[in-house]
Symmetry: C2
Subunit: 244 residues, 2 copies
């Protein structure tokens, strides 16, 4: 049985301001919940229609059996799964200054951010730096799209301008009119910046880019104007990694 | 003013069976409608809250001014644009046996298919061959995700097994355990097959693949199990193209 205050708390977590206020976020789907339970993320409460009984570091008292009707009340999905979990938002750890870091300048679409987090996991990118204008990674749609990858990536929200001003690493940026990435002999470790879906990299951030790179287009002159930011990120991360 | 029969026809086009029955599909969003008007696609009717007045090959009589209330009645979007157009589904032209052809084995997600059509346009892939189990490319969500690219790609729905049985071209397939694509000296033109979101390439199709290729994973052992089919397609098309 769910209390009114539990329902109120959980449904409030749809909004970023309440996620920040409570330091909590919601995860749905058994696969993703299991991945989070088996990671360093701390469970607040697990609401489920049947017991999980998995080997993971959480207190059995935090698992609450509920009816399907109650699950429908708290779920953010039109077709709810069999469980919903509330986890604590972890403190982000210090951004490492080694390896390749991906930085996002105001990526707004939750599906794109989720896909990009999954790509970081695939390509072994440990640090993802997001401008404060980037969609919140604890947005339920982002969590769903990451397929559990969020447990393995250190994600920081920063003032991107300040962050880039204080780095000594090369800062690559994806532009339509950059150097052909295929023709680059080497791509050293550093920071790769990807821009907003509609506007690309902002003017302020552009001044802090040390090398503009681009993915050549092979179609007709009339061809599509740009690649989606998630597919462009996929291609550029692949280009950095294949050289090693 | 919209008639009841017009409203009934348009709203029925949300479903594939009525799209096939009438040979019509719906497009929303001024940018995509304009791209289709300026292409070889044939307009059936354009419903708009203000006149388009663009240089394109359509009959002015087919442009019907309607109120915002009427647009809300026929729109498939929760926040309708200012126009909705109904176009005729074109007959697919013969699949060319030259260049690189992309083939999809039961890709189900409309957003993924839309993104893949946009990628074909970027990378100059003229022919996209879809198994009959692949989501319909005239699904409104696919059309929206293609951003107009659908006008420049020849898309065919076929019995994929029959199609691959009758080709003499090399047939590449994306697998988790294929040859490392980065280490391939050359990737000749042929057919590249991408599989279903959950199950990959089906067993029947697998027997017709002449070379299995894969994108290496760089993360931890625990890392994400697979790449999304659209991002994997992005990386593999980039790998075919950068070698030319």
């Amino acid at each position: 049985m769910l209390s009114k205050s539990q329902i109120k708390l959980i449904t409030s977590l749809k909004q970023k301001k309440y996620r920040l206020q409570h330091g909590l976020f919601v995860v749905e789907g058994i696969k993703t919940i299991t991945e989070l339970l088996q990671s360093s993320f701390k469970l607040q409460k697990l609401y489920t229609t049947k017991s999980f009984k998995i080997d993971a570091n959480y207190n059995a008292d935090d698992e609450i059996l509920i009816s399907e009707t109650d699950l429908k009340r708290i779920s953010f999905l039109s077709t709810p799964n069999t469980a919903l979990a509330v986890f604590e938002i972890p403190k982000s750890t210090k951004i490492e200054a080694s390896g390749l870091t991906l930085a996002l300048d105001a990526v707004r679409d939750p599906g794109n951010l989720g896909t990009i987090i999954r790509l970081c996991d695939w390509f072994g990118i440990k640090n993802l730096v997001c401008s404060n204008q980037t969609v919140d990674c604890y947005n339920p749609k982002v969590i769903q799209a990451t397929m559990g990858s969020i447990t393995r990536i250190n994600i920081s929200y920063v003032n991107l301008e300040d962050y880039l001003k204080h780095t000594k690493l090369p800062v690559y940026g994806a532009f339509m009119e950059g150097n052909n990435v295929y023709q680059k002999q080497d791509l050293t470790d550093g920071i790769l910046v990807m821009g907003n879906e509609a506007n690309g990299i902002s003017e302020t951030i552009e001044t802090l880019i040390t090398e503009k790179i681009s993915i050549p287009r092979f179609g007709d002159i009339q061809a599509t104007e740009s690649l989606n930011v998630a597919t462009a990120t996929a291609i550029l991360l692949s280009e950095f990694r294949r050289r090693n």
